[in-house]
Symmetry: D2
Subunit: 377 residues, 4 copies
C-alpha cells in the first residue's frame, strides 16, 4: 500500500505501490513495464494520469532524446518515461501542499524552473538556466516532465504544483490534454504583444500548435486570422477553429495571397508553426513595418534568412520555447469559457497498452491523424 | 532677404535667400550648387547646419538610393540633398512653433513619422507605415531627412520639431553630430529591455554604432561589456569607451572567448553591428537561454541561420531601424552628463566644399577614419 | 452647395452648406441653431453624424465646462457644440486623405493628440501635453471633440482620421455609439496588464463604463468577473453582460463578499467606476498583494485614502483618462465579433431636436435610463 | 564544531556552534544572547555577518512587529533576530549549492519568495502571496530575513541564494550594507518605467531611500533631478549625491518651486520618500499629464487624496514594497562602477554589542545621523 512518509493520501483514492509505465531504453526502444509509483516531495503532488496526448516532440524524444539535451552535448537519457501532454487527478500530496486537494482534476504544463537562476527569478521558468540539471550529481530542482524527468506515458507521475492547471468539471479528459498545446500558442501571442484584438495575424502551418494558434488568436479578438498550409483538410479545420481566411500554398503564393487579403498593407503578427525552410522569410514579407514573428517551429538545419529585410523593416523575431509565463492558465480560461473547441483537433484514441500504435498514428498521420490521445483508464 | 509668410525670423540671425548645397543627381553624382533656403511649415523649423557627420548609410544612399525605397521598388530619388547626421542652430520658426527659439543649438534625429498610421499612433515613428510617402502626389507628412527629404550636406535644412534635440552649450558641434549614432545604439538597448545595469552585453563589430553601443551599454551600467572585432585599433577605441574586454576574432574564436569571459554561462544581450554573414549565429551561441540579440547591421544577401538554436533557447531577435522611441534624447542626456566621450570616434574634419574627399575618407577608411565630420561654417 | 477648396466630396452624398446644431452658450444654455458645415483640413474628414450617445461627462461639460480646462484654470468655453460619443458616415475628405472613403461608416474616439509633445511621441495621445491648446492664439493641433472642439450634438463634425474607427455593416448606429465607452474600459484593462485571461476582476459601479467593463473583461477571458453596485436592475444587466457574480453592497459588505467569492485570496484587478468616496480603499482591500486598481471614475472632493495599505501591498493605481492607446479599436474588434452585446445598456432614443429631453433622461435616470442615444437622422 | 550533515564548510573559515545574537522578546525588548548558528538547507547558504545597517523599518519592527504581519492580523513575532540590511561572507553551503563559494563577499536583499504562488511565478517575489507563511504549521518557503525570519543583528544568518548579491573587493563592508537601500530606489524607478535618462525626476524626502533615490536617478541619466525636504543638511547631501536642484519646503512652496524649475511643464516622475500626509497630492501637482508617482513611504493614517486630479491627468501611482525585480543587482552594478558614493549617507558606526545605542542614534537622529552601521567584526 502506497503511504510514503510525509505524503498525504486519501482512502477514497487508493494508490497502488506499483504502476504500469512505458520506459525508454536505447533510442526508439519503449518497453511496457511495471515500476514503483513515484513519491512527491515539498511543493509536489502525485497525479494519477487519466489521459495523455502525443506531441511531435514526443516522437523526437523517443527517437533521439530531448532536443535541448542532445544539442547541449548531454548524453541520451535512458530508463525513464516520456510523455508530456497529460492530465489526470491529484492522488497524493507532498509535504505542506495545500494548494490542491486529492481528487482535483488537473492538466499539466511541462516546465518547473529551478526557482534560483536569473531567468526563473524573472518569471521565465521555461528558459531556466538549470534546464536538465536534475539528474546526475546536482539537482537544482528544474523539472521538464517527459523531457528530463519522468512523464505521462504511465499511470502516475509526480508534478511540481507550478505545473498544474485546475480544469472545469465540464472539460473532458481528452480536451484537457490539449491545454498545453493551446498554451504554447498563447505564449507566442503573449510575447508578440498580447493585445491582439483587432490586429491581423497569420499562422503558418496547420499542425496542432498552428490550429490552436488560430483558435487562441481568434479568442483574443485578432482580425483577420489567416492560416496558410498545404493540406485542405487541415485548412478546413482551421476554418472551424476560427480562421477568417485560409491560403493553400500549393495553389497560390503565400505572401501575395496574404497581402491581398489585407489590402497590400501587410499583417501585424505571424506565428510560424511549420518549420519550413523559407517560412521565416515568407513571414517577413507578409508583415508590415514594425511587425513581429513568433517562431514556434523550426527547420533542423540552418536555412538562408534575409536578415536585411528584417532589420530594414524593424521586425522582431521571437523564438519561443514551451508554454512560458503561465500562458497555459490563459489558454485554459478561454477553453473553460468555450471560446473555441480544441477537441476538433483530437482525432484518435488508444489505450495505454497500445502506445506504439498511437505513436505510429501520430508519426505517419494515419487516417489524417492530428492529435492522438492515449487513455490510461 | 528670407522672410516667407508665416515664418518668424530674427534680425540677429539673418538668413539668406539662397544657400550652398550638395545635390544628388544620378547614382554617385553629387554636385555642389546653390538652391533656395527651404521654408518651414507648421511644427517645423529652419536649421542652420553647423556640422554634419558621415554615416555608412550616406555612402549607400549616394551610390544606390535609400535602402528602404530601393527595396520597396520605389525609383532612385534624384535632385535632393543627402546627409542625416547633422546639427546646427535654429534659424527660423514655422507657424505656431514656440517649442524652440531662434538661436537654440540643436542636433537632429532622422525620422518624423506621419502621425496617422498605426505605428506612429503607437509611438513607433521610425517604423512609420507611410515611410517615403512624402514626395509625388501624396504627402502623408513622413520625413526622413537625408533619405526621402532634403538632408544635411547643405547650409540649411527644414526639420520637424519632433526631430530636434536640444544640446548643452558645452557640447561641441562635432560631438553633437554623434548623438544620433549613440541614439541608435540606445534604441537597440531600449528594445532589448532597457534595464541593462549589471547585465552582460556583447557588441559585435567596432564601427561607429558598435563603439558608441559599448559606451551606451556601459553608461547604462551593463557589466561586463565585451567588444568583438578584427581591428586592434578599433578594439582599443572600444576599451577607451568603456569595454571591459575586447576579443580580436582574428586571433581567437569569438564564441569561445566570450563564454570563457562569463564563466561559460553565456551573456544576456548581444548587439550585432558588423553585418557579418555568421554574426547572428555567433550571437546566438554567445547568449544564455532567454537572451536577446539586437541587429543594428545586416549582410546584404540572405545568410544561413541556425533558426533551431534560436527557438530551442527562447532567443528573441530585434531588427532595429534607426533611432526610435526617443532614444536620441536618452543618448544626449548621457552625453550631456559626460558619461562617455563620443568624440573619441571622431577622427577627421572637412569643410562643406570638400564633401567628396570626406566621403572618400569615410568609405575607404583613409588614415583609419572612423567618423568624418563636415563643418558647414 | 458644400465644396470647399481641397476637400473631396461625392455627388452620391451631397453635403449642405449649413446644418442644425446645438450650441452651448453660458453654462447650461444649449440652443438649437443653424451653423456652417465645418471644413476638414489635412488628415481630417467630415463625418455626417448618424447617432450620438450621452455620457455623464456631457452633463458635466454642459453644466460646468470641460473638467480638464476648468481645473486648469482656463475659462468656460462658449459658443461651441458638445457631444463626444457619436458615429456616422464619412461625407467629405480633407486634402490628401485616402485612408477613408466617402460613405464609410465610422465611430469615433475623442482625442487627437498634437503629435509633437512628449506624450504624443510615446503614443499617449489622450495625455497630450497640449490638451486644449487649439483655440485662442496657438493651435498645436490637439482635438478633443465635444470637449475643446465641436462635437456631436449636430449634423456634421470634422474628425482627425486618428479618431475614426471603421465599423462593420452589421453593427447598428446605436451600438456603434457605445464603442468609445467599451474602449475606455478596454484602455483600463490594457493599462492593468492586458493579459487578463484567467485573472480575477472586480468592477465597482454598474454605470455604462462599469457595465461594459464587465463585458470587456469577460471577452478578454477574465474569470471570475465580479460586479458590485447598489441597484439590482443594474447588477442584473451586469449578469447579462457576463459577470460571474454580482454583489449588492446595500446588502453585504463589498470587500468581504468579494474575498469570499475568491476563497479569501483577493482578486488581481479592480476597475473602479463608481466615483464613491471609499471606493479606492475598498478596492485596495479586495486585491491580493501585487494587485492593481484602475480608476475610471473619481469623487470630486479629496477623500481619505489608506495609502499605507497600498504601499505595504505593492498595489499600483492607474488613473485613466479617456480611451487611450487605440483601445477603441480593440473594443470594436470584440463587438464586431459579437463577444458581447453592448446594446443591452442602450435604453432610450430621441431625435436630435429633443436633446434637452434626452439629457434629462440621462441625468435623472428617468425610467432607469442607462445609455440614451440621440439619432440625428 | 559546526558541521551539520549535508552542509559544506571550509577549514579556512571555521564556524562556531554558537553565536552572539540580539533576540526580540516582547515589543521593544532586545536581549543580547547566545544561540546556535543556523543551518542552511537546499538553495541556502550560511552568511557570516560583517556589517549591518539600521533602517527605519527596523525601529518599527522592534517596537511594533513587522508591518505586513501586524496589519494582516498575525501576532507579534517573538524570540527571533531582526535586522535586514546586512552583508558578510559566505561561511557554509547548503546541499547542492555551487552558485557561491565559501569566502565570497556578499550583501543581501530581504525577500525570498515561495516560488509557487502567482506573484512568484511572475517574478514578483517581494509580493509573494505566501509572505509570512514560514513559521507555524505551514512553511511555504517564503523568507523575509529580519521581518519574518531571523535577520542580521547577529553573527550569522541563513540566506536563500536568491537573496545574495556578490560585491566587488573594492566595496567596503559599510558601503555594501547600503545596496539594498539603493535597490529599493532602483525598484521604484524600474516600475516607473526604467528608461529615465533625460527625464525629470523629483524625490520628496531626503531620508536614506530618498537620498540614494537621487543618486540612482542620476546614475540612470535623469535630468533634472530635484530633491525636496525640510533640512538643509540633508538637502546638501542630496546635492553631493547628484541632485541638480534642491527645494527647502520650509522656505518655498514645493509645487511652485518644482514647476518653476522645469519651466511650468511639470516633471515626469516623482519618488515619494517622506511619508508626509500631503505628499501624494503635491506629487500629483508637480507632474505633467501622464506622469507617474512611486510611493516608497507612506503616512500611517488615511490621508485626504485628490483622486480627481490623478484621474484627470492620467497619473499612475506605484506603491512599492521592498526591493523587487532584482533591482538590488542593478543598484550594485552602479555602485561597483562608482557612479555614486553611497557612503555619503553613512554617518555612524557601532559594534554589535552596542546595538541599542546604534538604534538610538538612528531613531533620534543623534548628531544628524543618517545611516548607522553596526559592525559585527
Amino acid at each position: 500500500m502506497y503511504a510514503p512518509p510525509g505524503v498525504r493520501t486519501n482512502p477514497n483514492m487508493a494508490v497502488p505501490d506499483r504502476m504500469r509505465a512505458w520506459v525508454l531504453g536505447d533510442p526508439g526502444q519503449l518497453v511496457f513495464t511495471q515500476k514503483p509509483v513515484p513519491v512527491p516531495s515539498r511543493a509536489e503532488v502525485l497525479v494519477r494520469i487519466d489521459a495523455v496526448a502525443i506531441c511531435a516532440t514526443d516522437l523526437e524524444v523517443i527517437a533521439h532524446g530531448p532536443p535541448a539535451l542532445i544539442q547541449g552535448g548531454l548524453p541520451f537519457n535512458k530508463d525513464w518515461t516520456p510523455g508530456h501532454e497529460y492530465m489526470g487527478t491529484v492522488a497524493a500530496l507532498g509535504p505542506g501542499v495545500d494548494e490542491f486537494g486529492i481528487g482535483d482534476r488537473v492538466t499539466v504544463e511541462i516546465h518547473a524552473g529551478c526557482g534560483q537562476c536569473k531567468r526563473c527569478r524573472m518569471g521565465m521558468y521555461t528558459s531556466c538556466l538549470n534546464y536538465g540539471l536534475n539528474y546526475g550529481e546536482v539537482d537544482k530542482g528544474h523539472r521538464a516532465n517527459g523531457f528530463t524527468t519522468d512523464g505521462g506515458f504511465a499511470e502516475y507521475a509526480v508534478n511540481n504544483i507550478n505545473t498544474l492547471i485546475r480544469i472545469a468539471d465540464a472539460m473532458s479528459d481528452e480536451e484537457a490534454t490539449l491545454v498545453v498545446t493551446a498554451g504554447t500558442a498563447m505564449y507566442g501571442l503573449t510575447e508578440l504583444g498580447g493585445l491582439v484584438a483587432g490586429e491581423s495575424v497569420v499562422v503558418i502551418g496547420p499542425g496542432p500548435i498552428g490550429l490552436l494558434g488560430v483558435a487562441v488568436a481568434k479568442a483574443l479578438g485578432a482580425s483577420p486570422v489567416i492560416l496558410t498550409g498545404t493540406r485542405e483538410a487541415r485548412l478546413q479545420k482551421g476554418l472551424e477553429l476560427g480562421a477568417d481566411h485560409v491560403v493553400n500554398v500549393t495553389k497560390q503564393d503565400a505572401v501575395e495571397a496574404v497581402r491581398r487579403l489585407v489590402d497590400g498593407k501587410g499583417v501585424d503578427y505571424v506565428i510560424e508553426c511549420s518549420g519550413a525552410a523559407n517560412a521565416i522569410n515568407e513571414a517577413g514579407r507578409m508583415l508590415n513595418r514594425g511587425g513581429k514573428i513568433c517562431l514556434a517551429a523550426f527547420p533542423h538545419e540552418p536555412v538562408p534568412v534575409d536578415v536585411a529585410h528584417l532589420v530594414r523593416n524593424n521586425i522582431y523575431v521571437y523564438g519561443i520555447r514551451g508554454e512560458g509565463k503561465s500562458a497555459t492558465h490563459r489558454a485554459e480560461a478561454f477553453m473553460r469559457a468555450k471560446r473555441f473547441d480544441a477537441t476538433k483537433i483530437h482525432t484518435h484514441t488508444f489505450p495505454l497498452a497500445e502506445l506504439p500504435e498511437a505513436l505510429r498514428y501520430a508519426r505517419d498521420r494515419v487516417e489524417d491523424a492530428i492529435k492522438v490521445v492515449v487513455k490510461t483508464r
